[in-house]
Amino acid sequence: MAEKTKLFTRIKFYRIRIEPRLSEPPAWYPPLISVGALILALILGGILIKLAGGDPIRSYAHIAKASFGNIGVISDTIVKATPILMTALACSIAFRMKLWNIGAEGQFIMGAFGASAIVLTKVLPPETSRWVFIPLMMLAGMAGGAIWGFIPGYLKAKFNVNEIISSLMLNYIAVAWVNFWIFAVWTEAGFQMSPKFPLNAWLPRLTDYAQNIPALSGLTTHMGLLFGILAAVILWLVVFRSCWGYEIRLIGDNPQAARYAGVNIAKNTLLVMMLSGALAGLGGMSEVSGMVHRLQTAPIAAGYGFTGIIVAWLSKLNPLAIIFVSILFGALILAGREIQPSGVPKMIQGIILVCLIASDFLLRYRVRIVNTAEEK
């Protein structure tokens, strides 16, 4: 009894304190924290699976198998990761300048629309060569996204309209716009989707080469991945090795210093929002042309733009890191589709996110347990 009260009073005198971190943590600290957060998330997820009556170890093994188990599912993971990679790159460049573009979703959809319009307006005959179709669709996709980025960019640069609100609102308009076209104009026999694209408007997939290399049979990884990786490398070079990227970093860190250095902030706001939109738009193009092969709202407006925000943030806006993080997210999404009940991977995805984002807190603050009794 006495022991117990003593323990209680002792605990009572301990308090947890949170204080801003004033010196830089050592270099090994951030990665360690991220890994720790990931492990913690998996443990928490495991507990929840257990509570729901499942077997955590088997569930995790299943998720791993469903997304990385064999070459077929790895290919599917990559297919899922491709649109996320593009939208995350789109977000990263805008965020780098502290432009909060929440509209990658809408820009992605408009990119898909632009690319589809090349096919569906029948300006080109269906038997046109791939070498004409694909580049034109890419251009149209990027243009569609860029226009959707231009609008909030212009409003911000000219009238200082909050880009969070305007870009978010444009997402809904993009969905409604595409719906209008597939309901009213390009509908396939009354269904809410366009007819399938002619084969020449499809991005090449690995499985297309199965005749020569049988191992590739059934692998749907398409050229969009290549666009994504290329875009990531180019974006890295732009950000860290070009004058324009330097200006973007300068504005992002201190707009007043940027002005002093002679950087035109309004112009860059416009350009960066357009670049961001174009990257998301290219993602939309790659998705319709590489994966869906028709214009249809459901598979296009699947929230890739929002996942991109998270991936960009978790990658600390580094384009090269985005490649790997988007593959991780692709795997989680795929697992969500594969396993029943599908709530589990979604939930784990959520827990991982919360843990990773919360762990960021530990980089900026430190937590101390203090003995308040001693202080008195």
Binding site: R17, L22, C243, Y246, D253, N254, Y260, N264
Partner: protein
């Protein structure tokens, strides 16, 4: 009450320990820098103790250790004779130690009282503000810190905000007050005000640690001085009375400092900068410049004197293209530069040392390299075809680091980790290294140590000898008098007059004239009255 009675403690009331703060053998290491190397420091009750030292000597670090912001690697801190370990500023303030930083940490939209109560456990929720208002007003009166407790922070001047910071610490029961370069942000009259506050606080038993680079302030206010050099103590608690400026400077930098550099005669060249009847508004949209006309020629330094806030900032911005001119024109070598872009000026060899080095002059999270290329990243060979040549930029940054003595372990370090003086050197290196034709320097020596000030003055004079035209905007009259060939005085956006500075000791009449102009008397009026007196 719960204090156990210590056995064998025959002395119930120990004599007042001789020191309120005693630091012994403090060592603090940062990656690549030994910021404090076995530093001893003692503070007596009721004294003003000045802490002096070169830029990067470790003054702020030592005080951050005392205030619980950093943890020392080794060494002991005793408060009133009792060893303590602080692991947060809260621990320090509980022990009666409060630090006032150079950058104030106040919420602009809240009142003085709200700011003072912010973050306290008691009261956690403020229900009856007016009760606290009067409490704070009383505390203010006690120490001569007059501020209206109900005023919002944004309505207050810098000096008043500083008083709020002091009040905040006093309200939390601070017995020892650490002030890191408190005068750097103040106008001369405000400095006098601060000094009388400090005196009234020590008279009531508080102890003060005072960091400053201005030696005349030290001799005016401090009782004792401790000097640091490269992390080590070079003078420990010497009485300040009787120390000359030269002696102090010598202790700081370890050599003789020349306060009045020789100004070589330079043949004055063509007019480089010509400002004609310029009008401009300030940030709030009120007129800040009301018909300013001045000119600067090649090979001369022209000073602009005036009390802070009389349009100096706006004038520098109008010249460099950061602010629109409403009326009037500015010519650089005969070409209009007013209402053009900033790049326009940069491309024509205009250099600019802005007054606010953290908010305007640098990007804090970017590296030293990124910061030194800030105004020439568009030019070959730093960039070609829009691509940056990073190896070359790094090499360039390393050259500047060498040439301008920037103390930093590596040029990839983000500049926010640099000491104040080193940050200023980064800016100076960047601006001067381009061999500018014309330069606007606003408060170029603010926050620099005496040795560094001498260095900056040498650099400015060298630029003058190389034929550059320099507009020097400063609140330090002494600096203006020793460097300038001519001085304009600005008051409420108007030029009150222009005086020529002859080599040698400035005569007192001239200083008086400038002082009168700074308070709003035009030169013509002074001369007429002077004529009347003599006549």
């Amino acid at each position: 009450m719960a204090q156990p009675n210590l056995p064998n403690n025959p002395d119930p009331s120990p004599a007042q320990p001789p020191f309120v703060v005693e630091m012994r053998g403090i060592v603090k290491r940062f990656p690549g820098v030994l910021a404090n190397d076995h530093v001893d420091f003692e503070l007596r009750p009721g004294e003003i103790h000045a802490l002096l030292g070169e830029n990067g000597a470790g003054k702020s670090t030592l005080m951050n250790v005392l205030a619980g912001l950093y943890r020392q690697d080794s060494g002991v801190i005793k408060i009133n004779g009792v060893p303590v370990t602080f692991s947060s500023p809260r621990d320090a303030i509980n022990a009666g130690i409060g630090m006032i930083h150079q950058h104030f940490m106040l919420v602009p939209s809240q009142t003085v009282t709200e700011n003072i109560l912010l973050g306290l456990d008691n009261p956690r929720f403020i229900l009856n503000l007016s009760r606290y208002d009067s409490k704070i007003a009383e505390l203010g009166k006690q120490f001569g810190l007059e501020v209206d407790p109900r005023a919002k922070i944004w309505q207050l001047s810098v000096g008043e905000q500083q008083r709020v910071e002091i009040l905040k610490m006093l309200y939390r029961g601070a017995n020892v007050l650490i002030m890191d370069e408190p005068t750097a942000v103040l106008a001369p009259q405000e400095i006098e005000g601060l000094f009388s506050i400090l005196r009234s606080m020590t008279a009531q038993g508080k102890s003060i640690i005072f960091i400053s680079h201005k030696l005349n302030e030290i001799t005016a206010i401090a009782d004792r001085v401790t000097v640091l050099r490269r992390g080590k103590v070079t003078a420990a608690g010497q009485p300040a009375r009787g120390l000359t400026r030269q002696q102090l400077a010598n202790l700081m930098v370890g050599r003789d400092v020349i306060f009045n550099l020789e100004k070589k005669p330079v043949q004055r060249g063509e007019v480089v900068l010509d400002i004609q009847d310029v009008h401009a508004d300030n940030d709030k949209g009120l007129p800040a410049l009301r018909g300013v006309s001045i000119n600067v020629c090649a090979g001369e330094i022209v000073g602009l004197a005036g009390v802070a806030g009389n349009g100096q900032r706006e004038l520098s911005q109008v010249i460099t293209g950061l602010r629109k001119c409403k009326q009037g024109r500015i010519y650089l070598n005969g070409e209009t530069v007013s209402n053009r872009s900033v790049i326009f000026g940069i491309q024509r060899g205009m250099a600019y040392i802005p007054e606010d080095r953290t908010h305007v002059g640098t990007a804090p999270n970017l590296s030293v390299t990124d910061n030194v290329i800030m105004r020439k990243y568009r030019q070959s060979p730093i960039s070609q075809y829009g691509l940056l040549n990073m190896p070359l930029a790094v090499k360039y940054a390393n050259e500047l680091k060498q040439a301008y003595d920037i103390i930093v372990p590596h040029v990839s370090t983000p500049v926010r980790l640099l000491s104040g003086g080193n940050l200023q050197r980064v800016i100076l290196a960047r601006e001067i290294s381009g061999q500018p034709q014309f330069m606007v320097a606003v408060q170029p020596t603010r926050g620099l140590d005496v040795g560094a000030i001498e260095g900056v003055h040498r650099l400015l004079l060298a630029q003058r000898e190389a034929g550059a035209a320099i507009l020097l905007i400063s609140e330090e009259l002494e600096e203006l008098l020793s460097l300038s060939d001519r001085i304009y005085v600005i008051y409420e956006g108007k030029i009150m007059g222009e005086v020529k500075i002859e080599p040698g000791e400035p005569d007192p009449g001239l200083i008086e004239t400038i002082g009168l102009m700074m308070t709003g008397t035009p030169l013509e009026q002074i001369e007429q009255q002077g004529v009347r007196v003599h006549g």
